[in-house]
């Protein structure tokens, strides 16, 4: 399959944006090559220059971007000196692209068929009927029904659109396909299938693929070779397997470590975040409230901690999982267990841990008896009014949440997972009281000491996109102060005092108060959003995809901050995410929502090891596909 012929060769490519006589370099001396029939992965965080690099290959850089030096050769031909007309002939026919957001990347006014067929029309001259036949064949090849030909982009699901996008990219028989974050906007179950499809196309047609992703799991699962980019430079490159198993560069290691890796290679074990990365921030504070999905290595390992990996603290074996392993309170001494501790010590430690487990039982696992239930939901039904001819007395509405009954204990973190459209965000909105058409019981217990002026208020929410949810016209100080104005009787001075205190709590400094949201980085914005949610001292915080739009290294920091704050203020979290690995790592219990109903609710570890509902099984299976 692999011939060593070089398809694409990028040499010392440097791209910069000219801004007020200053040149801002976004791609810095990048050198890479793609061989025929090879899948090359480019990984890196947003802003690392990966997309700019491939846009330069396509000749589609934004006008303000200039290629400062270097060369791009495709099959020996220099693309940078090529005439625009010749380049156009190459685009689509020889090099084509699959874009990230298939909804916006298709023209909404034309049918899928017309848009796929157009690619063929541009690069060949056939009879009208032949175009149609070939287009239908291409659609069939990516697993789409012939009806799709006549459908419009908005009528297809995200996965189907991405398939159509692949059909469009492949139809003219290109030698190189550039896929820019092709699965990022998709649900996990679909992600795996799209990646399989890309791989299949690669094998079947020998097409070279450049796969760009910020998600290491994606790169790892399909790529032969990979390069890691940071700040416009390639920091490391090599065979994908070797690269991720033994990262040499400091940044790669950081990336691999903070990457949410859920499953080990056997695909059966839990693999949480490394003890070090996740809990570094908590070390000096000693005890950490459990919920960590522990690290594990092999299937048939002794659950009592006869661990081969001594530098890892603990092993959780799925098959023999007994519930308490995962729910344990980990103590500071646990954390200090370093490499070189001998077996005996490990066992001794295990014993003490068993004792702690007993002590903590009331506090942790069976806390429902001792701990108050902060949120009780009974037989909840939520509806959306449906648009239609409104007849008096009769309203049509669509049920989004069906008969949901669940309760959340104080101090616990409940995860809600499900596909987009499953109703998880609707449920959250109902709890906060943003949905009006609600039937059933939602009870939120006040837990603040009576008489305190900072009385516990309604649950607060932290949203996915802090840029969109923070008023862009107001400074951070105003944004933080506003909820206090609305919900408390504090004077101006006290309010500002509290704002100042809060901003430090989330790891920002008072100088950030004088900034506008757009002057903060993504991570800082999310911190500010968290501060705004916590400032009124809510008992219950709903986190709606709080880290989904952040880079992995930032993700870890924010999750860490949330954990710290939870402990400090005894907060209860409801954590909504489509990202399984983050959820399993972060939550005590997980509730799987499928088509508006609760498929199952279980302790995180048990759910992962013994999923019962078919849908949960599928979710976990497809998440594993990514790392298999």
């Amino acid at each position: 399959m692999k011939s060593n012929e070089i398809l694409l060769n990028i040499e010392n490519l440097t791209i910069g944006f000219a801004r007020r006589r200053k040149i801002n370099t976004v791609v810095d001396h990048v050198t890479l090559e793609v061989n025929k029939g090879e899948i090359l992965g480019i990984a890196g965080e947003s802003g690392s220059g990966k997309t700019m690099t491939v846009l330069a290959v396509m000749g589609l850089l934004p006008v303000s971007a200039k290629i400062l030096s270097g060369g791009i050769h495709f099959l020996g031909k220099n693309l940078l000196t090529m005439e625009e007309k010749e380049l156009r002939r190459l685009r689509g026919a020889e090099i084509s692209m699959v874009f990230q957001d298939s909804m916006t990347s298709f023209n909404p006014l034309l049918t899928i068929g017309a848009q796929v067929e157009e690619m063929l029309r541009l690069h060949s001259s056939l009879a009208k009927e032949e175009y149609r036949i070939l287009t239908l064949k291409a659609l069939e090849e990516v697993g789409l029904a012939p009806e799709v030909y006549h459908m419009y982009p908005h009528q297809l699901s995200g996965g189907m659109r991405q398939r159509a996008m692949i059909a469009m990219a492949m139809i003219a028989g290109p030698k190189l396909v550039i896929a820019d974050e092709p699965t990022t906007a998709l649900d996990v179950t679909t992600q795996g299938k799209i990646l399989e499809l890309l791989k299949e196309m690669n094998v079947k047609h020998g097409t070279g693929i450049i796969l760009i992703s910020h998600d290491l799991r994606v790169i790892q699962s399909v790529c032969d070779r990979a390069v890691i980019m940071k700040d416009g430079r390639i920091v490391e490159s090599g065979a994908a397997k070797v690269l991720f198993a033994h990262p040499e560069n400091e940044y790669t290691r950081q990336l691999v470590e903070s990457a949410p890796v859920l499953f080990s290679e056997t695909g059966a074990l839990l693999k949480g975040l490394d003890g070090e990365t996740f809990f570094d921030c908590n070390k000096d504070e000693g005890e950490i409230n459990g919920n960590v999905v522990q690290d594990g290595t092999e299937l048939d390992m002794d659950p009592n901690g006869t661990n081969i990996n001594k530098d890892r603290n603990e092993t959780a074996v799925c098959s023999e999982w007994n519930g308490s392993n995962l729910k344990e309170d980990r103590t500071g001494t646990d954390l200090n267990t370093g490499p070189g501790k001998d077996h005996g010590e490990d066992q001794a430690k295990n014993q003490t841990r068993d004792q702690t487990r007993v002590q903590n039982k009331g506090k942790n696992k069976n806390q429902d008896k001792d701990q108050e239930e902060i949120l009780i939901i009974k037989n909840l039904n939520v509806f959306y009014p449906e648009k239609g001819i409104v007849l008096p007395g009769k309203r049509s509405r669509k049920q989004v949440i069906r008969n949901v009954t669940i309760s959340v204990r104080q101090g616990e973190t409940l995860g809600i997972i499900g596909e987009s459209g499953s109703g998880k965000s609707t449920l959250a909105k109902a709890i906060v009281g943003l949905d009006t058409e609600v039937e059933g019981v939602i009870k939120i217990n006040g837990i603040a000491a009576a008489g305190s002026e900072m009385s516990v208020s309604r649950p607060q929410m932290v949203f996915q996109d802090p840029y969109g949810s923070l008023n862009p016209m107001k400074k951070i100080a105003w944004i933080l102060e506003e909820p206090l104005k609305l919900q408390t009787n504090l004077g101006k001075k006290e309010r500002m005092q509290r704002v100042n205190e809060m901003i430090r709590q989330v790891g920002l400094s008072p100088e950030h108060l004088e900034r506008y949201p757009h002057q903060l980085s993504g991570g800082q914005r999310q911190r500010a959003a968290i501060a705004a949610a916590l400032i009124v001292n809510p008992g219950l915080v709903i986190l709606d995809e709080p880290v989904s739009s952040l880079d992995v290294t930032i993700q870890a920091q924010i999750l860490c901050l949330l954990k710290e704050l939870q402990k400090k203020y005894n907060l209860t979290y409801i954590f909504i995410s489509h990202d399984l690995s983050v959820t399993f790592r972060f939550c005590d219990r997980i509730c799987v929502i499928y088509r508006g109903e609760i498929a199952e609710v279980k302790e995180a570890g048990e759910l992962l090891c013994r999923p019962q509902h078919e849908y949960t099984k599928e979710l976990i299976r497809s998440a594993m596909l990514l790392t298999a």
């Binding site: 084509s96 692209m97 957001d101 023209n107 909404p108 049918t111 157009e118 419009y152 908005h154």
Partner: protein, 315 residues
């Protein structure tokens, strides 16, 4: 189909509401229509007789229904400023022909000139031609129509003698002369609006050109011009259509100042004189007409959307 039915129902309901509001507004205005029809010399018996005859003693809903019934037949009664000798419908009918022609001519001018100019301006972005178009645009946008009308009369009428100012001929007398004359007021109405549409279309096109689907089209190997015509134009026209519809409704309601400058017997001038003479029957009819025009045009815009945009069609 369901969409069309829905929009049609909403059209009928809106028209009904408009008629109620128009009718109600004139009930609030003080004054006795019997008195104003018969004059202050009329005796109480004559007034009573007139009220009885005209149904003015009946209850409000009954009077509304009578009025609506007649209005639907095109009967709005008689105009008081013409001493009840001319029917309101005949009065408005004549003027409406003039205004409608003015509207059609200027609208055709707007569409025929502004869309190519807008496309050209967007295609030649950052070139001299675009800057020139933008500059001329700025000037014309800020000039009011009536002033433009005066300039046109001065330049084309008095200096160049392409037409004789004030020589309006009714279309039913000599249609060719009528059209020749109407071109000039139509231009006066159209020019500032052309400038607005060009600016609007240009920015809409440039915005759409930046979107992902335009990039996808370029990645297929299409030239910029082809991307613009095949993919971007239709998308960019969607907001422009709304804007054009607003313009059409605006000129159909009568361009009062331009009519005044060119001495056209259009709706706008009739409205002004009817208000001045407290000729309520005419004012009422014109208001009902103007409001209905806006509603009906919006109905057609909705239908056009449905035709262009599959997302509207299939929900």
């Amino acid at each position: 189909m369901k969409y069309t039915v829905k929009k049609f129902i909403s059209l009928v309901v809106s028209l009904l509401f408009t008629s109620i509001l128009t009718f109600a507004a004139f009930q609030v205005i003080p004054g006795d229509s019997a008195l104003s029809a018969l004059g202050i010399d009329a005796t109480e018996e004559q007034l009573e007789e007139y009220r009885e005859e005209m149904g003015l003693n009946k209850s409000l809903p009954v009077r509304y229904l009578n009025w609506l019934k007649n209005a639907l037949r095109g009967d709005f009664g008689y105009s008081s400023q013409y001493r009840m000798q001319i029917k309101v419908s005949a009065l408005i009918g004549d003027r409406l022909i003039v205004t409608a022609w003015l509207a059609v001519l200027s609208f055709l001018l707007i569409v025929a000139v502004s869309i190519p100019l807008g496309i050209l301006s967007a295609l030649k972005k950052n070139y001299i031609l675009d800057s020139l178009i933008t500059l001329v645009n700025q000037v014309f946008m800020s000039v009011p129509s009536f002033f433009l009308g005066m300039m046109i009369t001065l330049v084309f009428g008095i200096i160049l003698k392409w037409f004789t100012p004030g020589s309006y001929v009714n279309p039913w007398e000599n249609f060719r002369l009528f059209l020749r004359f109407m071109i000039f007021p139509a231009a006066a109405v159209a020019i500032p609006r052309i400038a607005m549409v060009v600016k609007f279309l240009r920015s809409s096109l440039l915005r759409e050109m930046e979107l992902d689907y335009a990039r996808t089209a370029k990645s297929k190997g299409m030239s910029n011009i082809r991307v613009l015509f095949r993919h971007v134009l239709k998308n960019a026209l969607i907001p422009v259509i709304t804007f054009l519809a607003m313009i059409l409704a605006d000129i159909l309601a009568g361009a009062i100042l331009v009519e005044q400058v060119f001495n056209l017997p259009g709706l706008g001038r009739l409205l002004v004189s009817s208000i001045a003479n407290r000729d309520y029957a005419v004012v009422q009819a014109i208001i009902l007409y103007s409001a209905s025009v806006v509603i009906i045009i919006n109905f057609f815009v909705d239908l056009i959307y449905q035709w262009i945009d599959p997302r509207v069609r299939t929900g």
